[in-house]
């Protein structure tokens, strides 16, 4: 009986460790090879906290260190979580700067291997290669959870079950929260969040920390259930097993993780019955081979993200879909209608930018009137996208100014620029394909307490209420462009034209007054172009100021009120579109002479 309880405990530990990795890999799209060593840090911390102080030890352990602080078990758990959380910062602080994925693999790999080696060497803390023994088991009100006896083992297994359920609940809750939504956006597109006014650094650091903290907490329970451990318990193989569980089960799917952990957890005992001692290498062959086959045949895993049994009733259809006119009405009431003809919303003064020796923008000055649609046109290489980038802050101008409603915003970061009221769309649309259309738009809405972990934890009712408002606003934006019926569909399933409409809805949802659109019709097949152009006009109907880069003059004629003609990085002329194309010198510039 105790043997089975032990197996159950191991499986539950594996589920918990994998669920925490799934938070990082599944939701945030970041790989970590270091789960095992962080697990170990938690285990050793808890052990050292809980072991009795030197003078109280009756028999020193034969191997390793037999003494500690003598605190109760729950203090051990808390210390383990805190220490591991801090240790994770060692990885995460450099990691947030490293954009390329393989660097993170290498960084966490170095941390795992180096960290494990440090554990083997730091005899003061871990007892060196011999580790620690004699860790007292949990004792709650006189009831022993020691795994040395059958009944204690069963109690420990049940306790682990509770712990695992709590961890799964946390993982699920975080994943489905606005915070989780931020992470899921981060995993597909690195530069999207700043453009929507949300800083990605905090969520990234936090998710690394939380993943580590959970691993550390589980480590504490491992220490209490095992009573003894050595650094070998926390080697690279374990990290790889955890990764395998997540990948085989299904990245981003907690149900898949449970399945994967049960499978891998049962693999060794089952193989042991059949093969005896050969079980250990065969187990590795099985899960290594399964990993290869899974990536070749079904990379999303056994239970892909979003599939699986729906535990909570999820709206699959939006019910009664709002009409476009109703949406227009609602959004008009909410947005501050700007007065056309007032001072220009956006002013660009003498902007310059050079790359190496090449001048991309050589002193561009123009203004974008409030409440109108202005197009930037010009032949290839005129510097239009570079100007966009300088306005939104993703590039710093070499000289010149950008004024928003008269206020100097030159050189501010993209997040700050967005918060001041300028949002942009991207030429390559940058829709997050793995989340729903609705989530794509909701992430753009400002002022979401749910993106903040402390609000999420301590003010759940307020967060829930605000989330409802955010959802309503997002649905209104989607309805305006006629795509609300697809709200609960994964964005990856939409046609490109519809994705472009969702991107415009997302832009509207930012509540920014000035909207920059980068090639809104590009890539849209002829049948859907009209819909996209109408969508852009609706932005103006709502009183927004729109500036767009569009290469097709044919479309600009239909879309824009005014245009700015650029060539070789300087402004040649401004005026209504018709005025500009009537000028021969501009035609000569554009088409060659």
């Amino acid at each position: 009986m105790g043997y089975y309880a032990q197996i159950a405990i191991n499986i539950l530990i594996l589920i918990s460790l994998s669920a925490s990795l799934n938070l990082l890999l599944g939701y945030a799209g970041r790989v970590s090879m270091a789960q095992a060593v962080l697990f170990g840090v938690g285990a050793f911390t808890a052990a050292r906290v809980v072991l009795p102080p030197p003078d109280e030890t009756t028999s020193n352990a034969v191997s390793g260190i037999g003494y500690g602080l003598g605190w109760p078990w729950w203090a051990g758990v808390i210390c383990a979580i805190v220490v591991t959380f801090l240790a994770a910062l060692v990885i995460s602080l450099p990691a947030v700067r490293l954009v390329r994925g393989e660097y993170l693999i290498l960084l966490t790999l170095a941390f795992q291997l180096g960290g494990q080696q440090v554990m083997t060497v730091a005899t003061g803390f871990t007892g060196g290669p011999f580790g620690v023994a004699g860790v007292p088991s949990i004792n709650i009100g006189g009831v022993s959870f020691s795994t040395l006896k059958d009944d204690g083992a069963i109690r420990m297994a049940l306790l682990m079950l509770v712990v695992t359920i709590v961890i799964l609940a946390i993982a699920y809750g975080l994943g489905e929260s606005p915070f989780g939504r931020l992470l899921k956006t981060l995993r597909e597109h690195d530069t999207l969040l700043p453009a929507l006014g949300k800083n990605p650094i905090r969520p990234e650091l936090l998710i690394f920390g939380i993943t580590a903290g959970i691993a550390g907490g589980v480590g504490a329970f491992f220490a209490f259930s095992q009573g003894a451990m050595t650094p070998v318990n926390f080697n690279l193989d374990l990290s790889i097993i955890i990764i395998s569980v997540v990948v085989l089960g299904g990245v981003g799917s907690l149900q898949g993780t449970i399945l994967g952990a049960v499978f891998l957890g049962l693999l060794e005992p089952v193989l042991r019955v059949v093969l005896g001692d050969d079980a250990i290498p065969w187990r590795a062959v099985v899960y290594g081979g399964a990993l290869v086959l899974m990536m070749l045949l079904r990379p999303a895993g056994i239970i892909p993200e979003g599939s699986g049994i729906k535990l909570f009733r999820r709206k699959k259809t939006p019910g009664e879909v709002m009409s476009s006119t109703e949406a227009l009405d609602r959004l008009s009431r909410v947005s501050a209608a700007s007065v056309p003809g007032a001072k220009p919303a956006l002013e660009v003064i003498d902007l310059t930018k050079a790359f190496g020796g090449l001048v991309a923008v050589g002193g561009a000055s123009f203004s974008i009137p409030t409440g109108e649609i202005t197009a930037l046109i010009g032949p290839n290489g005129a510097g239009k996208t570079t100007i966009f980038n300088m306005i939104t802050g993703s590039m710093k101008p070499d000289s010149g100014k950008v004024l928003l409603n008269g206020i100097d915003i030159t050189g501010l970061s993209p997040v700050k620029v967005e918060r001041d009221g300028i949002a942009r769309s991207f030429q390559d649309v940058r829709i997050c394909e793995r989340i729903t259309v609705l989530d794509n738009v909701m992430v753009a809405v400002p002022h979401q307490p749910g993106e903040n972990l402390s609000s999420l934890t301590f003010r759940p009712l307020y967060t829930r209420q605000r989330e409802r408002q955010v959802r309503e606003r997002a649905l209104e934006c989607l309805a305006l462009f006629g795509v609300a019926d697809k709200a609960y569909v994964k964005a990856g399933e939409l046609s490109y034209g519809d994705q472009k409409l969702v991107a415009i809805a997302r832009l509207l949802a930012t509540d920014c007054d000035v909207l920059l659109l980068d090639e809104p019709t590009s890539g849209v097949d002829p049948a859907n172009v009209e819909g996209v152009m109408q969508g852009v006009s609706k932005l103006r109907d709502l009183g927004r100021t729109v500036c767009l880069v569009e290469h097709s003059v044919h479309f600009v004629l239909q879309l824009a009120d005014r245009a700015v003609f650029l060539d070789q990085g300087i402004v040649i002329d401004q005026g209504t579109v018709q005025e500009l194309i009537d000028k021969q010198e501009l035609a000569d510039l554009y088409f060659g002479s």
């Binding site: 290839n380 046609s495 849209v524 097949d525 002829p526 044919h554 035609a587 554009y590 060659g592 002479s593």
Partner: protein, 247 residues
């Protein structure tokens, strides 16, 4: 017409290249839809259109660097839908991209040698290089220099030279005017015309610079937002004054 082995080929009036209903893109993005075009042997055909109209995608599809979603491409009367760029490079087509059309970290000689990567009779390599360096003397003068050090115009000459190494029947040129100063654009296009008319090579030029192309083209097509909106002769294009609504 001069074949790959230097022999004279008889020309027949059938199309050298033709596409029917060509539709292609990147994943979800449909970039070109339902394109019908053809190129006769010895013809210079221009493809005009705004930035992002699908011109580069069209060339890449023809050269088989991109998968086709629908339609047929025929080269010398045979479908090349299933072909790959490795094969088209070796069978009489050359492709010169708009940007980064050379290997910056290699010398002129090495670049030209790579241009002839698909050349079967390696013995001819030397004479082909001499030939190209005769057409573009600057390449001969600076043959051991790294290509990345050259100016835009010189890099363009090198890229054309690379394309000529295999004596292609059909040259696909993507925005040859890009990166060259306007003063040099005309002479570059004249060179293209002279070279290709001399050898009977067909050329499919993609360009935004309407003037430069219409000066030398026998026929032009206009692409707008992935669709073909106009086909006319070079003469008609030279007479045309209103281009805005086509872009």
């Amino acid at each position: 017409m001069i074949g790959l082995n230097g022999e004279t080929l008889t020309v027949d009036v059938k199309n050298l290249l033709s596409t029917k209903g060509l539709t292609a893109g990147y994943g979800k993005r449909r970039v070109i839809t339902n394109i019908d075009l053809h190129v006769l042997p010895g013809e210079i055909v221009g493809i005009l259109g705004h930035n992002g109209a699908g011109k580069t995608t069209l060339l890449k599809s023809v050269f088989r660097m991109l998968p086709i979603d629908a339609g047929v491409i025929e080269f010398r009367g045979v479908s090349i839908n299933k072909s790959t760029s490795v094969k088209t490079a070796a069978s009489g087509m050359s492709y010169t991209p708009a940007e980064r059309a050379i290997f910056r970290d290699l010398t002129v000689t090495q670049n030209l040698e790579l241009g002839a990567h698909a050349l079967k009779e390696r013995g001819k390599l030397g004479e082909r290089m001499d030939e190209v360096m005769a057409i573009f003397p600057i390449l001969g003068e600076r043959k051991s220099q790294l290509a990345g050090r050259f100016s835009g115009g010189q890099q363009r000459q090198l890229s054309l030279g690379m394309a000529l190494m295999l004596h292609p029947e059909l040259m696909l040129l993507d925005e040859p005017s890009l990166g060259i100063s306007p003063a040099v654009v005309n002479s570059t296009f004249q060179t293209i015309r002279d070279l290709t008319k001399e050898r009977g090579t067909s050329v499919l030029i993609v360009e935004q610079n309407v003037k430069a192309v219409t000066t030398i083209a026998d026929r032009v097509y206009v692409l707008r937002n992935g669709e073909m909106v106009l086909e006319e002769t070079g003469e008609q294009a030279r007479q045309r004054t209103e281009w805005w609504h086509l872009f």
